[in-house]
């Protein structure tokens, strides 16, 4: 191949990787609400809202998400956090469109999945998702 053409191919490759990186970064931390489905088995009995964090051993952001959830639980006695290894629960991953770890399912008292938190979500957004789940079940 012509070396000028090869350089153009290299530039295109770098540009593609950059666009891909920006798109992935925008999608890697987000909150998906109203995703539906039930995981009653995973709820913690005493809690109004249970945060079920799906983690994996191959996961950098899982530690950060665990820290956020642990702090929230410490401040709010009606919320529980449990962490399960995605390898232990592949069915949960399949049922709730889990393609990356950490993904945290926000379960209400009945075990309805009110929202999914993808990535290490900011504390304020976790709090908002928890409040939304609580409000939704009071209304129901």
């Amino acid at each position: 191949m012509d070396s000028l053409l090869a350089l153009a191919a290299i530039a295109a490759l770098v540009a593609f990787a950059t666009v891909l990186g920006l798109a992935l970064r925008a999608r890697s931390v987000r909150v998906v609400s109203g995703s539906g489905g039930d995981e009653q088995r995973l709820t913690v009995e005493w809690a109004d809202v249970t945060l079920v964090q799906l983690s994996s051993p191959i996961c950098s952001a899982c530690v950060a998400m665990r820290r956020v959830a642990t702090e929230l639980v410490a401040a709010d006695g009606t919320v529980a956090h449990r962490e399960i290894d995605v390898v232990d629960e592949p069915g949960v991953a399949r049922r709730h469109s889990v393609y990356s770890t950490p993904t945290t399912l926000v379960l209400d008292r009945q075990g309805h999945v009110r929202s999914r938190l993808i990535g290490a979500v900011k504390p304020a957004d976790v709090r908002a998702a928890v409040d939304a789940a609580r409000t939704a079940q009071v209304r129901a």
Binding site: A64, A80, E83
Partner: protein
């Protein structure tokens, strides 16, 4: 912070880990070298016999990268030569890390890099045209995403493998 689940089990690995900037520094070097492989692979013509194909510059450079990935995947990311380079020359010029990372994710990423680049190298040696450039391009995208965006493509693959049932409890614990 304890890092345990309500049932007392530890999931995410030990709290003590490596500076996450170390593997990203290594990935930056790797992505530049992979780009050189792509460039050479696109401009060189395919060698006529096995020896010619094995000794052409693009193949030699990719062989070195395969060896480095194998080192990282087998010995663990903390023993990778780039890690030593980072600790010796880079880390001391930076502020201490604000967080630490488990060694499992970047080590798994090295394994994915090894599989991709080794496949390309073997196909090239078998006489498949363009194998070097394609494999190096794929590996470049992964290394670049890690270096520039701290995004671990191999780690995403892990969950996909679990979903399709390819990775199970016993295999994942090994």
């Amino acid at each position: 912070m304890t890092g345990t689940t309500p049932d007392g089990r530890q999931v995410g690995g030990p709290q003590l880990g490596i500076d996450p900037r170390g593997p990203r520094f290594g990935a930056a070097i790797t992505s530049v070298l992979l780009l050189v492989v792509v460039l050479l692979g696109l401009t060189e013509s395919l060698g006529v016999d096995l020896l010619a194909r094995a000794t052409q510059p693009a193949a030699l450079l990719l062989t070195a990268l395969v060896a480095l990935f194998a080192w990282g995947a087998c010995a663990g990311i903390q023993k990778h030569p780039y890690g030593a380079l980072f600790r010796r020359f880079v880390a001391r010029r930076l502020a201490p890390p604000t967080e630490r990372e488990d060694t499992a994710p970047p080590t798994f990423a090295q394994l994915i890099g090894l599989i991709v680049t080794a496949t390309g190298l073997v196909l090239h040696l078998l006489g498949v045209g363009g194998a070097l450039a394609v494999a190096a391009s794929v590996a470049f995208v992964a290394a670049f995403l890690n270096a520039a965006f701290a995004y671990c493509l191999g780690c995403q693959l892990y969950v996909v493998l679990v979903r399709v049932g390819f990775l199970r409890r016993s295999a994942a614990r090994a």
